[in-house]
Amino acid sequence: MSHPSPWVRALTLLGLVVVAAVEVGPYLWMVATSLKDLPSVTQFPPSLIPRPPRWDNYAKAWR
């Protein structure tokens, strides 16, 4: 098989990484949202890092 140029390979890899990010990103968002309180859930613009992280959401879900 012929070897494509490094540029083509880099672009291909970039495209694949974008697809993978689109597939996985929403889950990261779900995890982040699961650690937020209501004000940060509805905050606009949204932020990925929950501040402060609300671990008690999980305790509540368990009950």
Binding site: A20, E23, T42
Partner: protein, 293 residues
């Protein structure tokens, strides 16, 4: 005697498949047969059934039902074509060993194993026209917000995109398996003959993937025809009836309007439709599928 022995073997065979055949009959064939039976009655689950002949079928013959068929065809066609094309593209690009390839495959396949309910809720939230991440992203790059689930012209295609997003890993993995079954010698020989990349794909990869493609077309069509959870959770068939696809329509007739007879008639037609469609796909592919390498 060979024939006696053959008969004994056959008896043993029937005895061995008997239990699973009985179970299959009980949980699959019986409900289908019962649906066919109920389809000639008027029944609301409360009062006794009333025989109405083919009235349920006649009632189904309406513009509303036509719209359901068109919606289902759009949803199914969109999902099958997009998932196949993207799955094949990804499989071709990821068809080599290595940590990168494995990690990307795992990422892309991950959404396939998550439940429809979680996926639907997640995307409702992501697509929220006010607080959604997608809305925010569009605004960042200066694009207008799209009313993904609230606009009758867009909602069905939103469901197609979410379904493709969730299903994509499946055709990718199956195509990867198909690609790995193609002997490397073929490509070596082609390379020696000076075949270009496109010609290698056109004359080796694509024909030898045809059984895989047939399998994927059939299974993806059936799976997308049976789409329900995503409609139930994300749109409820609306806005207006723009996302009313077949199984949701059956559900609504049966358990919202309690018209079990009409719903059962729709089930019978659905059964026939899937049977015909699968037969047509099989016939269309039969001449072109190459099973031997």
């Amino acid at each position: 005697m060979a024939s006696r022995r053959a008969r004994r073997d056959a008896r043993l065979g029937y005895a061995l498949v008997g239990p699973s055949l009985a179970l299959f009959g009980l949980v699959y064939l019986y409900p289908v047969a019962y649906s066919a039976y109920v389809s000639v009655f008027q029944w609301d689950l409360m009062t006794p059934k009333r025989y109405v002949g083919l009235a349920n079928y006649r009632e189904l013959w309406s513009p509303e039902f036509g719209e359901v068929l068109v919606n289902t065809a759009c949803y199914s066609g969109g999902v099958v074509l997009l998932a196949l094309a993207l799955g094949l593209g990804l499989a071709l690009l990821l068809n080599h060993r290595g940590a990168w390839s494995a990690a990307l495959q795992a990422c892309i396949f991950s959404s396939y194993i998550v439940s429809w309910v979680a996926v639907s809720l997640l995307w409702i939230w992501m697509l929220d026209p006010q607080y959604g991440l997608v809305t925010y992203g569009l605004r960042l790059v200066g694009l207008p917000a799209v009313n993904w689930l609230g606009s009758p012209a867009v909602a069905l295609w939103t469901l197609v995109l979410v379904t493709v997003w969730k299903t994509l890993g499946y055709p990718m993995i199956i195509y990867l398996a198909g690609l790995q079954a193609i002997p490397g010698d073929f490509y070596e020989a082609a390379a020696l003959d000076g075949a270009t990349g496109w010609n290698r794909f056109r004359f080796i990869t694509w024909p030898l993937l045809s059984p895989t493609t047939l399998f994927l077309v059939v299974t993806l069509t059936i799976a997308s025809f049976q789409g329900f959870d995503i409609v139930k959770i994300m749109t409820g068939g609306g806005p207006i009836t723009s996302t009313m696809i077949y199984v949701y329509y059956i559900y609504e007739q049966a358990f919202q309007y309690f018209r079990l007879g009409k719903a059962s008639a729709a089930v019978v037609i659905f059964f026939g439709l899937i049977l015909l469609l699968t037969l047509a796909q099989w016939l269309a592919f039969r001449k072109r599928v190459q099973y031997t390498t």
